[in-house]
């Protein structure tokens, strides 16, 4: 055709900007769409999501607490069983919420409703989509964490003002799991593969020193558990809940910072590979 068309292509993406090809500086559009969609369809399911950890807290705290008695918590101090498991249950709930949001929901949008294809045909980039989705998951996580902490307060399980910091810490934990979950989802081809996610989360939930101190395990098992992300989340929240900190606290936080950076990098690359080939 005409020579002008071949020699002067229109550049739509500002490639001279940092991350210009990946990031359209419009995360808020993804967030606004997500909020609107949630409110239109299933807000009652969303809101009731915090019920599950509360049920665990009531059942295990009272019922199992009667059998177990006192347990040694952070810094070796004795604590009531309900106080011991409450922060652990919050960490589990942060993990579950983030993983469900970033696997099931994302998988559906990726393969069935093809939502992201639509988004990426606008000036939005894969990083906008990833960050927007993760922000929504975190918002939900923050909502649940606040509800759960309020229930803990009502049950008289809060003994230190530091406990309020559990809410932002739970969001950090959720961030770690969500950023990784989305990357993992991008490799999935069938619905059945989602069941494997379940089969990784259940052992983590039951074995990560959630219901009993790590010391009941033999040494070799302990180091395996300590490599798992949920154990770091549980320990982090448990230390915050009583306000006893150590270098370990910083270590747990660092674990999640690394997880977030790695997960985000992987997710963005995967979304680019899937859509912007």
């Amino acid at each position: 055709m005409s020579i002008e068309n071949r020699t002067a292509p229109t550049v739509l993406v500002p490639q001279d900007r940092f991350l210009g090809s990946l990031y359209g500086r419009n995360i808020r559009a993804v967030i606004a769409r997500g909020l609107k969609a949630t409110w239109g369809t299933n807000w009652s399911i969303m809101v009731s999501g915090f019920v599950e950890p509360v049920l665990y807290l009531v059942a295990m705290g009272i019922g199992l607490g009667a059998l177990v008695g006192a347990v040694s918590g952070p810094g070796g101090q004795e604590m009531e069983y309900a106080n011991f498991i409450a922060p652990a249950l919050l960490a589990v709930s942060a993990m579950n919420g983030a993983v469900y949001d970033s696997t099931m929901n994302v998988f559906f949008k990726l393969h069935y409703s093809r939502l992201y294809e639509g988004m990426l045909s606008t000036p939005l980039g894969p990083l906008d989509v990833a960050m927007g989705e993760i922000f929504l998951a975190l918002l939900r996580g923050a909502l649940y964490a606040t509800g759960f902490t309020a229930v803990m307060g009502a049950m008289g399980l809060i003994t230190s003002p530091w406990a309020l910091l559990m809410i932002p810490a739970a969001v950090v934990i959720a961030f770690g799991f969500a950023s990784f979950g989305m990357a993992v989802t991008s490799y999935m081809k069938t619905f059945q593969q989602l069941d494997w996610v379940q089969m990784i989360m259940l052992p983590m939930f039951l074995l990560s020193a959630t219901f009993y101190p790590l010391s009941v395990y033999p040494e070799a098992v302990q180091s395996v558990i300590q490599a798992l992300p949920l154990w770091h989340g549980v320990e982090l929240l448990r230390q915050i809940s009583v306000g006893i900190f150590s270098w370990g606290t910083a270590g747990h936080l660092l674990y999640f910072v690394v997880m977030i950076v790695l997960g985000l990098t992987l997710t963005t690359n995967r979304l680019r590979a899937l859509f912007l080939k």
Binding site: G49, Q192, L207
Partner: protein
């Protein structure tokens, strides 16, 4: 005996050459379907289940292992070490936490399988995959389809509870194996007593607007946690203890405990457990069959 070959006779049919039974006439096939329709449908259900056999096996093997390791050995260290905790067994003896927990875990597994297969699978049958409508166009009746579905679920539950029981034996969590194996079936009863009313409910739904998520969150979860699964029901205050009384899971678990280690209990109470579970199962099944008939034939 061989037939005399002659040019006048028509060529042999393939099944005759192979010495097989002659195929049924359409009329005979229909009569057979009318008689064994439920089994035919169950057969199809089980074949469909093989499409997700990886998941079935994973839940049937992975879940027991994780629970037995996590709760049965980890938590047991704490509980057995605590002098306040003791679980009465037969003849004034006490049993360990692992033994106490075993029957509850088997019954829970049955309940979980049942709650999955009597919700989304049913919606699949009526709406998403429409698996009920093909058989319903054949001489198989809608009541037989409902029954066939239940038989299929029963097979999956038995697979799960049977494997679970084997794991319990391997972990040394059964004191009386002579009667203990019967918990495979009392656990099945928990699955059916909960699953049949749920099936009746699911078969009325036209659309999943989150009802199944609500059932999971507000019925299955509380039943799991408040049915004396991880601790005796008596540890809970009366305000929540009633959840256990109406829960099929608690009734089945108590039966399993009697069978597994001779949990002391008056015989009348054992009868109450059994009758309650059977009433829920049969009542739910009757309702479910009625709903299937209304929806498929109406």
């Amino acid at each position: 005996m061989t037939r005399p070959e002659s040019a006048a006779q028509p060529a042999l049919e393939r099944h005759e050459v192979l010495g097989l039974r002659s195929p049924l006439t359409p009329r005979q096939t229909a009569a057979r379907a009318r008689r064994f329709g439920a089994l035919y449908y169950a057969d199809m259900w089980i074949r469909r289940m093989r499409g997700y056999q990886g998941t079935v096996l994973m839940t049937a093997i992975g879940t027991p292992l994780v629970y037995l390791l996590g709760m049965g050995t980890g938590l047991a260290v704490l509980i057995d070490g605590n002098s306040n905790a003791g679980f009465p067994g037969g003849d004034g003896s006490t049993v360990s936490y692992l033994v106490f927990l075993g029957p509850a875990l088997v019954a829970t597994a049955a309940l979980m399988v049942s709650s999955e297969e009597n919700t989304y699978t049913v919606m699949g049958g009526f709406k998403w995959h429409r698996t009920y409508y093909g058989p319903n166009a054949s001489p198989i009746s809608s009541g037989q389809i409902a029954l066939g579905h239940v038989l299929g679920v029963t097979v999956r539950i038995l697979l799960t509870t049977g494997l679970y029981y084997l794991f319990l034996v391997l972990f040394g969590a059964v004191v009386q194996p002579a009667t203990g194996w019967l918990m495979i079936f009392t656990a099945l009863l928990a699955g059916l007593a909960f699953g049949m009313p749920l099936l009746a409910f699911s078969s009325t739904l036209k659309e999943d607007k989150g009802q199944f998520a609500m059932v999971q969150r507000f019925i299955v979860m509380p039943l799991f946690l408040f049915s004396g699964t991880f601790f005796p029901l008596e540890s809970l205050p009366l305000a929540v203890r009633w959840i256990g009384w109406i829960s099929p899971l608690w009734h089945s678990t108590e039966l399993g405990r009697v069978l597994s280690y001779g949990h002391p209990e008056p015989a009348a109470m054992t009868a109450v457990h059994l009758v309650y579970l059977l009433v829920l199962t049969v009542g739910g099944l009757v309702l479910a069959r009625r709903n299937f008939t209304r929806r498929l034939d109406g």
